[in-house]
């Protein structure tokens, strides 16, 4: 059945030309899929959620959405999920990888505590909401094809970035959307590089563009810079705070500091937020197969995430005198332990804060990075005198990585999300110039409609395929003559190829009999040895027939006859449709009977 020209509609409800509350609505072939359901940490009002009233007009979403997909556990990609499913209302399936399914509720609960118990928020999802939401989650393995229903299927690919992060392909018939979520084309110490299977060619690639204009300097150079800054600060007796999300960056930086401390024989204490440290490392151990090859190989003997120099933070240790390094959560200083410690340390110029990740606009972290010297935190003004360093350790694809992914999967269209508009514009131009594909960068609430190229598949009888292949002597089989009749059944709106028998049946007119056109050429040379010649030609037609008057090939479509009584002249006759074989056969004959050729040794066996 020929498909109607399909339409793919994509609307960002979040992460369109900004970072935060990632939420992309994809409509493909009448199916509605929500990918990611994030939280914007920079707002405290309803703007932190995607605008769900865009669909369903504020009502429940179960009847509208066919499925929800979460790419990874960061709150700007999953933070609104309990709100969406339990408060707005959604009871359909929610897909995410197994590690994401394990870690997601921990971070949601952590965030909920900050909002409700610390900030006194009342209109927020509850612990029970989180639990009930997670009951709807279906775990996905990498490369597993999951049939959401009879037509819609999804498939996860490794994204790097953080444990369990995945790119998702959403497919319906011949058309698909590949959504990257956050990804990293460069492997790091604990995670591998993003990769899709060969042959994935989406209609649309939706790519994050967090670092659309960045080609980050050498990873090793950034790491050396980080280590040097930490070392200098603690040598002066200062304290270093590194706000991190509990999972992902923290593991990478811990491995880095652990090996540096070991190498330099330092004894300055390094602490990790107590609440999540042990659990975080347990998740890494349980899902070790999602990390990179080096860690996988050693995990039986030693857990890579058990550190000698790094200890869980104890109550009050942030007040102890002397240098120390503290990894604390959350990563954008939007509450919790990291903000509490920051308030205590921020007025001392000996101290330092290293921001290793992207900070959403409006958070304390973002304001610190922007160089503000006075920041009001919890209705109290704080002097910011400590050293501020921003070092991008975020495991996002940079411009080079984004271009690499586009080259790998050859999409028909590209869409950029999760980045800033001006930077997207730059990369858009570059992609359009290099790959000649349309690039879209919608703002939140803006609909992009993509009409996929019409694709027509027809079912061809195998006999016609074989016939076509046999007409082309070239082993590549990339240009085989194909002749057939297409029949469009107007009652059933079905397109078929006629078989040969059906084709003959339509011809009734006696004045229109099939005609055979043949061509021939004379080849002169030595007296022919028919057996020898037929052995040579068997290579091309195993059903070749050696007859009294010559050789017949391809059921008579090519024949070779003696043209004189001495058999020193041969006539090569071929049907019009065998034109491509003419040169091959002609050369074989010429090679054999040409007076200049050396005698061919008698064939002992027929070539296979």
């Amino acid at each position: 059945m020929p498909d109607k020209i399909p339409e793919i509609k994509i609307v960002p409800l979040g992460a369109g030309q900004d970072v935060g509350r990632s939420c992309i609505l994809i409509t493909i072939g009448g199916k509605n899929i929500m990918v990611d359901c994030g939280m914007h940490m920079g707002y405290q009002d309803d703007r932190r959620f995607p605008d769900f009233s865009y669909i369903g007009g504020g009502g429940r979403l179960t009847d509208y959405l066919d499925c929800v997909i979460i790419s990874h556990f960061h709150l700007d990609h999953c933070g609104s999920l309990p709100h969406m499913s339990e408060i707005v209302g959604y009871d359909g399936p929610i897909y995410m990888t197994y590690p994401t399914k394990a870690i997601c509720p921990v971070l949601l609960e952590d965030y909920r505590k900050v909002q409700c118990d610390i900030k006194g928020e009342t209109n927020f999802f509850t612990s029970d909401d989180i639990k009930n939401c997670m009951k709807k989650v279906v775990g996905c393995a990498l490369h597993e094809i999951i049939h959401v229903d009879n037509e819609l299927s999804i498939r996860a690919f490794y994204a790097g970035h953080v444990l369990g992060a995945a790119m998702f392909e959403i497919r319906l018939g011949d058309h698909s959307v590949l959504y990257t979520g956050d990804y990293n084309m460069t492997p790091d110490r604990h995670l591998g590089a993003a990769r899709v299977l060969p042959g994935v060619r989406p209609t649309v690639l939706i790519s994050e563009s967090t670092y659309a204009t960045t080609i980050r300097d050498s990873k090793r150079a950034r790491e050396r810079d980080f280590l040097r800054k930490v070392h200098e600060c603690v040598m002066k007796g200062g304290k270093v705070i590194i706000p991190v999300f509990a999972l992902g960056r923290a593991q990478e930086l811990c491995i880095l500091l652990e090996s540096y401390w070991e190498r330099m024989a330092l004894n300055v204490p390094i602490y990790f937020s107590q609440g999540l440290a042990e659990r975080a490392n347990q998740y890494y151990r349980l899902f070790i197969s999602w990390t990179n090859e080096n860690i996988k190989k050693t995990f039986v003997e030693r857990n890579m995430f058990e550190f000698k120099h790094i200890k869980p933070m104890e109550k009050g240790c942030e007040d102890q005198p002397g240098p120390q390094v503290l990894f604390s959560t959350p990563g954008m200083l939007h509450g919790g332990q990291s903000l509490k410690v920051f308030k205590k340390w921020c007025s001392d110029p000996l101290n330092m804060i290293i921001m290793p990740g992207y900070c959403v606009a409006g958070t304390v972290g973002a304001r610190v990075i922007n160089g503000e010297k006075k920041i009001e935190i919890d209705q109290k003004m704080h002097e910011i005198r400590l050293g501020v360093e921003y070092m991008s350790f975020s495991a996002h694809a940079d411009a080079k990585g984004i271009m690499q992914l586009i080259r790998q999967c050859e999409p028909q269209h590209v869409m950029f999300v999760h980045g800033e508009a001006s930077k997207m514009e730059f990369l858009k131009g570059k992609v359009e110039k290099e790959y000649k594909v349309p690039v879209h960068m919608p703002a939140n609430g803006e609909t992009v409609v993509i009409s996929a190229q019409p694709k027509l598949d027809i079912r061809v009888p195998l006999e016609k395929i074989d016939r076509s292949l046999s007409l082309d002597p070239n082993p590549a089989k990339s240009e085989c003559p194909f002749v057939a009749e297409l029949v469009y059944d107007q009652e059933n709106e079905r397109l078929n190829i006629m078989s040969t028998a059906e084709s003959e049946d339509l011809i009734k007119d006696k004045n229109c009999m099939p005609i055979t056109l043949s061509l021939s050429e004379i080849i002169k040379g030595k007296k022919v040895n028919w057996k020898e010649l037929s052995n040579e030609l068997l290579l091309y037609d195993p059903h070749l027939q050696l007859k009294d008057d010559g050789i017949e090939m391809f059921d008579g479509e090519i024949t070779i006859l003696a043209n004189n009584s001495d058999e020193t002249e041969l006539e090569l006759i071929w049907d019009e449709c065998r034109e491509q074989w003419f040169k091959v056969i002609h050369k074989a004959i010429t090679d054999l009977i040409s007076p200049e050729s050396s005698p061919v040794p008698p064939a002992i066996s027929v070539k296979a």
Partner: protein, 646 residues
């Protein structure tokens, strides 16, 4: 598709699937029963080491023990002949579970195989551990390989315990080099990951038998086929079997059914627990010769529960897990939650390990050793429970532990492998007082479960080894009862197409937009059909079929009559002079100007253009074409052209 059965054992299947363009081997089984012809290899046992040379044969390595004759040599394996399979022509091997995986190097190394091997990720990991364990056991054998003299009929045929098979066909175990070379050809898959092998879509589906075990759906344009390997629809620890894909296939090849009679794996489980409890209560030790991966994980927990909850069993009764790969197996179990049942999987969300092994090890209840040497020999105490390998009791640590515990009738060896007969396992230890108890734990699907599965899936045909259609005496329930079942004998080849009505084989081809754009449809005068002629190139490059625009003119079929009068008129229009030479049935026109001849058949059905000048041939061909009507689907009518909505 052709299907050939290459295994004499239905529960250890090996089938070859053949298409014109591909040959795929399903599973690589090995048979351990040849081990029973060999003397157990134990580290210190005067009883075995001093066994006398069999008087009857006077060959130094033929020993007599308990009125049986054993070969003192590294034991050998039976597997399907790679010559029969023609491994150099096999394109791919699909391995269904880690038991089959262990046999791979016998098939892939030294046989000319150069294809790819596909298996699930976790079956690969566990299969690799089993390979490593066996190679370690083999490397510990101090005896040199014997000559092959004993394999002659006049020797082994006269053993009181003659081999079941012709030992000439047995092969020594593969080497570590073979293993590494084999593993380099493996590609691992997730469940439900579809791969395309020469346009054949292959998908491993959860079979529920062991960790990572899969059955396979295999689909081409015209065939929907499932290869049902060892499966268990009632699994409790491993991921639950998926049966929905079986409803979408026409033919199911059933293999590897349970060998239990009048009992179930669950009942055997209860029996095992009761037996262990009874032995421990009487202050005996239990030896469980068992594979170091798979069901052992649950058994360790079960034994720990027995010790904890049963009055009369000391709480400090140790559980020993002895294997060169014990540590790796325990570690692998802790990171395999994705491949486990939902209840096991839920532990990682707490986050805890799916099994309590780590806690049991920390508390000293479970102790892990990689061999009997070293700390085990100092720390070993009885009563205890010992998990060790190999289940055949001919190599490895388990065989030695039988000797250690054998003198005490309170102790027991519990044989659980359903494919190794308990009496054969026991034979060399028959004179020892230790008890041997047979509790086969066969987790494969039984005939009743299969019957329910087939009733749900409703395939058009069921294929199976012929042994599954020959009932045991008076046991019609121990066979496959399905309305359409096709048994396949050993070495028999079945053509699947014979089971279908002569359906036309169709191939899906993508049509390039340019080709679509240029289609011209004409309305059929009497039927509700529109017909368009298509002339283009077919690309089959990389097995990806496409119709693409032709760069050169494609010869179409021609209609009409080529009469002599028409040809002569066309020649005159071109101002070419022709000399007519009449012959029976045809007329030859010689055109000196073009150094060419045209032969016209008198019945008007064909013509031949003869010239050694290609350019001139083309000119004449063009002239002839102008006389004729090219095939546009509906020849010779002034039919209405329409544009269907595609």
């Amino acid at each position: 598709m052709n299907i050939t059965n290459f295994s004499v054992y239905a529960q250890k299947p090996c089938f070859l699937l053949e298409w014109p363009n591909a040959r795929i081997l399903m599973d690589t089984p090995i048979d351990f029963t040849p081990f029973f012809s060999f003397l157990p290899h134990v580290y210190q046992s005067p009883r075995i080491k001093n066994a006398p040379i069999a008087k009857k044969f006077q060959i130094p390595y033929l020993k007599e023990l308990g009125n049986r004759v054993y070969v003192e040599s590294p034991p050998e394996i039976f597997h399907v002949s790679t010559d029969m399979l023609k491994m150099d022509t096999i394109d791919a091997i699909l391995v269904s579970n880690y038991e089959s995986f262990v046999g791979l190097p016998f098939y892939t190394e030294g046989s000319g195989f150069s294809g790819k091997i596909y298996v699930t990720e976790i079956a690969y990991q566990y299969g690799k551990l089993l390979m490593e364990e066996m190679l370690e056991f083999i490397s510990r054998i101090e005896v040199l390989p014997s000559d092959k003299k004993w394999k002659r009929e006049e020797f082994c045929g006269k053993f009181p315990n003659p081999p079941f098979q012709n030992p000439v066909e047995w092969r020594p175990y593969y080497t570590t080099t073979d293993m590494h070379s084999c593993l380099a050809k493996v590609i691992t898959l997730s469940f439900n990951q579809t791969i395309d092998l020469f346009r054949i879509k292959v998908t491993p589906v959860v079979s529920g038998h062991t960790y990572g075990s899969a059955y396979w759906t295999i689909k081409t344009e015209n065939e929907q086929f499932a290869y049902l390997s060892a499966s268990n629809p009632s699994a409790t620890d491993v991921k639950l079997m998926e049966t929905a894909p079986l409803r979408a296939v026409d033919h199911i090849l059933v293999t590897s059914l349970s060998r239990l009679v009048d009992t179930t794996a669950k009942e055997m489980g209860y029996s095992l627990i009761k037996t262990i409890t009874d032995v421990l209560k009487k202050h005996g030790s239990v030896l469980l010769p068992i594979c170091p991966v798979g069901p052992i994980f649950e058994m360790i927990e079960a034994v720990s529960d027995i010790i904890t909850t049963t009055n009369g069993i000391p709480l400090d009764t140790p559980i020993y897990f002895i294997s060169p790969v014990a540590k790796s197996a325990i570690a692998m179990a802790s990171i395999s939650a994705e491949w486990m049942s939902e209840s096991r999987q839920n532990a990682v969300y707490l986050p805890e390990e799916p099994y309590s092994h780590s806690n049991l090890i920390k508390s000293g209840r479970v102790k892990i050793y990689d061999s009997l040497y070293g700390s085990f020999s100092k720390e070993f105490k009885t009563p205890c429970v010992i998990f060790a390998s190999h289940a055949s009791l001919r190599i490895g640590d388990a065989a030695h532990m039988v000797e250690v515990l054998g003198s005490d009738p309170k102790n027991a060896v519990i044989v659980t492998d359903p494919d190794l007969p308990c009496e054969d396992v026991r034979e060399p230890f028959r004179n020892l007082p230790i008890k041997f108890i047979n509790i086969p734990m066969d987790f494969r699907m039984d005939f009743a479960s299969l019957e329910r599965l087939l009733a749900d899936a409703k395939p058009k045909y069921v294929l199976c080894s012929s042994s599954y259609t020959r009932p045991m005496i008076r046991r019609p329930d121990m066979q496959i009862n399905y309305e359409k079942v096709w048994p396949i004998e050993y070495d028999e080849c079945v053509q699947l197409s014979k089971l279908s009505r002569n359906k036309q084989k169709l191939v899906t081809v993508a049509v390039h937009p340019e080709v679509v754009k240029n289609l011209k449809f004409k309305q059929h005068p009497s039927k509700k059909l529109a017909v368009a002629s298509i002339a283009c190139h077919l690309s089959a490059y990389n097995d990806d079929f496409k119709l693409v625009p032709a760069k050169v003119k494609i010869a179409r079929r021609k209609y009409g009559r080529i009469t002599l009068a028409k040809v002569l008129k066309a020649l005159r229009d071109k101002n070419w002079d022709a000399k007519e030479v009449e012959k029976p049935d045809e007329t030859v026109l010689e055109i000196d100007e073009l150094e060419a001849k045209i032969t016209v058949k008198n019945d008007g059905t064909g013509t031949k253009i003869s010239s050694n000048n290609q350019e001139n041939r083309e000119k004449i061909l063009e002239m002839i074409r102008s006389i004729l009507i090219e095939d546009d689907g509906l020849v010779g009518r002034n039919n209405v052209e329409i544009k269907p909505n595609l």
